[in-house]
Symmetry: C2
Subunit: 128 residues, 2 copies
Amino acid sequence: MDLKQIARDTAKVMVSYLTYQAVRTVLGQLRETNLPRSHWLNAFATREKLQDGEAFLKALLQAQPDLAVRVMTVRQHIVEEIGEFLPEMVNTSIQQSNIEHRRQYLERATQMTLSDTEAQPESENSAE
Amino acid sequence: MDLKQIARDTAKVMVSYLTYQAVRTVLGQLRETNLPRSHWLNAFATREKLQDGEAFLKALLQAQPDLAVRVMTVRQHIVEEIGEFLPEMVNTSIQQSNIEHRRQYLERATQMTLSDTEAQPESENSAE
């Protein structure tokens, strides 16, 4: 297991996702202050591939530099605000989810075993 | 900006992404120890939607419980190993990327301004 590579890949995915969240935030702000510009950014975000945050920012910097700078500022703000809480949130979420999956699985397995043992005495009774 | 909601959404995306990385890890291990099973898991991962990590695990628990438990164990191991480093990695990555985008943009803007000022004296010269 190449943990360093996994860490690098995960960080990259997070940067792209936070860029998407920053675009959403700027879109929300523009909807309240400058509706035509929010329409423009929305159309641009639909056209350009927002999956790759860096390629998106590069294209936006060419088209509307001030909006790109705004998205960059917002994503930096977001990571500064929520970054430190994420590992604990993800860790807890995975632990709880793992427990819940195991519980549901054991519950199903037990029900299957119970219905087996319930079926068992009947055949034993009929054998008496 | 609803930072709490953004944090929750980001954590959810990370859990799903780490589940995907855990499946990749288990696939890699199976390729070395049990090739037919690695083929089976690969086909299963292609068929079931790996985008939603929880739905994927639920389906895998029904089909091959021990593989599902293995994926759950691996994703917990991954987050325990790399979790604490991620915020710093993402923060640094965003900072560097922001600087790089700004640098490239300023470079282009300066080149455009330079070619303007270079064009200017010529027309002034020709006016002399």
